[in-house]
């Protein structure tokens, strides 16, 4: 999304953006039409084709070295609506496709309908919502227009809320309702911000908006409203109260989707707005405030996670803390921009943090689901025997935990390294302190769980249920992705920065 590039032409490979958004929704409709056990087959076909589309997009991006653009109906903005995918979008789409695929493999065990078993509503809803979440996320990543983004955010909410209440218990219904109310208030704030921006600048297109926006009070109000709304949807402290019951109450596969992917949608939008649309009007104190909320989330989330008695709630509070890390990038980017330095490393650091958290947290929630099936409970104090019964799963949990802590060569390590370097380069040592303390607290609860799970089982104990090997392998595979993500530093090109300007043109007409 560079303001200087000729952004108003459909590029080769632009059609892939449309396909990536349309395909999951076509899958939803077909699954609804065929219903029952066919929904799972439709979902699998869609997932396989969708992953192919994303790989084709990566290839097209690497080949052209510039953003992929598609103009809907051939109309150029501001009249028409453009879809754009730069390196950031394509990286996120790749990760989402991989996580959706692995969650799909895992869900074959929990939500499969083998021949001879009665068809139920739960599995049908799960497979359709899985595709709906994927389609809405893809729309968020490629949309170049703030109102289309509003619609995409709402689609994501409508797909995420029923996932919370998939088992229909009263507590989860209540958690889903609370989540929905937070999300709706957030989207109204976002919408009001959109309308104000349109009223002031007469366009909804991000690239045009970035060129026209200036330091006017109305732009500040719109930016504050949109950011506040998105923070409620991302569950940044202190708007995180809905998250733990919602993410911990959902079935494991749904928790993995919600915690790994759904919250990243609103976060990605904050990054888009602050880095690409508002760089000219965002002041350093505002960015510091955002990161201060993130720092509070890291400390509060980690401390509360340490005190949880149930494994799924522990992981949910760990998500609250990890969301905090995602917001530490903003003052670093703002300070680097203000010093006229290259802010690309801070942006890439934030992106890597999102990717490593997405893969690690999905693996952790699915591991918790397997532990629950095997032990029949998920009380942290009584996990003994889990390591003996589920060696692959506990390895996966430990690897994912290592990525959250930031041990090399994990993705979390590389992300924190980039953020730490940016913090030191801009003389903001306090964020370094927060990151180190957060890592220490994270390691405390990861080790607590792993050490207890490694204790030998009580004599005469036997697993409640044998979990299939492919579920364990899927979880381990995803955890390995997260753990080995740090090797991305060895890649010859920084894919995330393709199609982005090196230094945003602050204040230029």
């Amino acid at each position: 999304m560079s303001p200087t590039a000729p952004a108003n032409l459909t590029t080769p490979g632009g059609l892939l953006l449309v396909l990536a958004v349309l395909l999951p929704f076509v899958g939803v409709l077909l699954g609804l039409l065929f219903g029952g056990r066919h929904a799972q087959r439709v979902a699998w076909l869609t997932i396989l084709v969708g992953i192919g589309i994303v790989f084709a997009m990566v290839q097209a991006l690497l080949k052209s070295g510039a953003s992929l653009v598609y103009l809907l109906g051939g109309w150029t903005p501001p009249l028409g609506v453009a879809l754009r995918a730069d390196g950031l979008s394509v990286c996120m789409m790749l990760v989402v496709a991989i996580v959706v695929g692995v969650v799909g493999v895992y869900a074959n065990g929990d939500f499969g309908t083998p021949d001879g078993q009665r068809e139920a509503r739960g599995p049908l809803a799960f497979w359709l919502l899985l595709l709906a979440v994927w389609g809405s996320l893809n729309l968020i990543f490629v949309s170049g227009d703030i109102f289309t983004l509003y619609v995409a955010l709402e689609l994501l909410t409508f797909a995420g809320v029923p996932l919370v209440a998939l088992d229909g218990r009263a507590e989860t219904l209540q958690a889903a309702l609370r989540y929905l109310l937070y999300a709706l208030l957030g989207s109204m704030f976002y919408l009001l911000g959109c309308f104000l921006l349109y009223g002031a600048y007469g366009t909804l297109d991000m690239a045009l908006l970035a060129a026209r926006i200036g330091p006017h009070p109305i732009a500040w109000i719109a930016a504050a409203l949109m950011t506040a709304g998105l923070l409620a949807k991302t569950a940044l402290f202190p708007l995180h109260l809905w998250l733990p019951p919602a993410h911990a109450g959902a079935p494991a596969a749904a928790s993995a989707l919600l915690s790994a992917l759904v919250i990243k949608g609103a976060w990605f939008l904050v990054v888009r707005l602050w880095v690409d649309v508002f760089p000219g009007i965002v002041s350093l104190p505002a960015a510091q405030l955002l990161a201060a909320l993130g720092a509070s989330a890291i400390i509060v989330g980690n401390v509360v996670a340490l005190r949880q008695a149930r494994l799924k709630l522990l992981i949910a509070y760990s998500t609250v803390a990890q969301i905090g890390y995602l917001f530490l990038m903003f003052p670093l980017v703002a300070a680097l921009n203000a010093a006229r330095l290259d802010s690309a490393s801070a942006v890439t650091g934030g992106l890597l943090q999102a990717i490593s958290h997405a893969t690690a947290k999905a693996a952790m929630f699915m591991a918790a689901g397997l532990i629950y099936s095997t032990l029949g409970h998920d009380r942290v104090a009584d996990l003994r025997g889990a390591g003996r019964a589920l060696p692959m799963t506990m390895t996966a949990f430990a690897l994912a935990g290592a990525s959250l802590i930031g041990l090399p060569p994990s993705g979390g390590f590389l992300a924190k390294w980039l953020l730490l370097s940016a913090a030191i380069a801009t003389a903001q040592w306090w964020w370094v302190l927060v990151m180190l303390v957060g890592g220490l607290l994270t390691s405390a609860y990861v080790f607590m769980v792993v050490v207890r799970a490694m204790a030998p089982a009580a004599p005469g104990w036997s697993p409640k249920k044998q979990v299939p090997g492919y579920q364990q392998a899927a979880v381990l595979g995803l955890a390995l992705c997260s753990f080995l993500l740090g090797l991305a530093a060895l890649l010859p090109v920084d894919i995330a920065q393709i199609g982005r300007t090196v230094v945003p043109l602050v204040g230029s007409p």
Binding site: Y150, L177, F195, L196
Partner: protein, 115 residues
């Protein structure tokens, strides 16, 4: 006072009522109604923007009106989803409160609903 200013003030009042209702009422139905009040205020802002953006020969800027229709549909769908969740919760527990400390007594036999 010009019409856009008057309607803009009305919008601000609606959003204010809605926010107040959302904060003070514990019942989810009232919260959903408050959300709709906020929504109407925001939509009115959009309509005012359309009127202010009117160029020669037009009664209003058509783009905000298109946005408005979409946003109303989305808000309607959101309210429907919230009401559906509330009804289901009422079926399960006999209450639709959001506060966990009010222990809901199971009104009906809990062995229903397989989803």
């Amino acid at each position: 006072m010009s019409a856009p200013t008057l309607f803009g003030l009305c919008a601000a009042v609606l959003v204010g009522f809605g926010l107040y209702g959302l904060m003070v009422h514990p019942q989810p139905l009232r919260k959903v109604l408050s959300f709709n009040l906020i929504g109407n205020g925001v939509f009115l802002v959009c309509a005012v923007i359309a009127r202010r953006g009117a160029s020669a020969g037009f009664g209003g800027d058509p783009v905000p009106q298109a946005l408005l229709i979409t946003a109303i549909v989305v808000a309607f769908a959101a309210s429907a989803l919230a009401v559906a969740l509330m009804l289901r919760q009422f079926d399960e527990t006999g209450s639709s409160s959001l506060s966990p400390e009010v222990a809901p007594a199971p009104a009906k036999s809990p062995a229903k609903g397989e989803a």
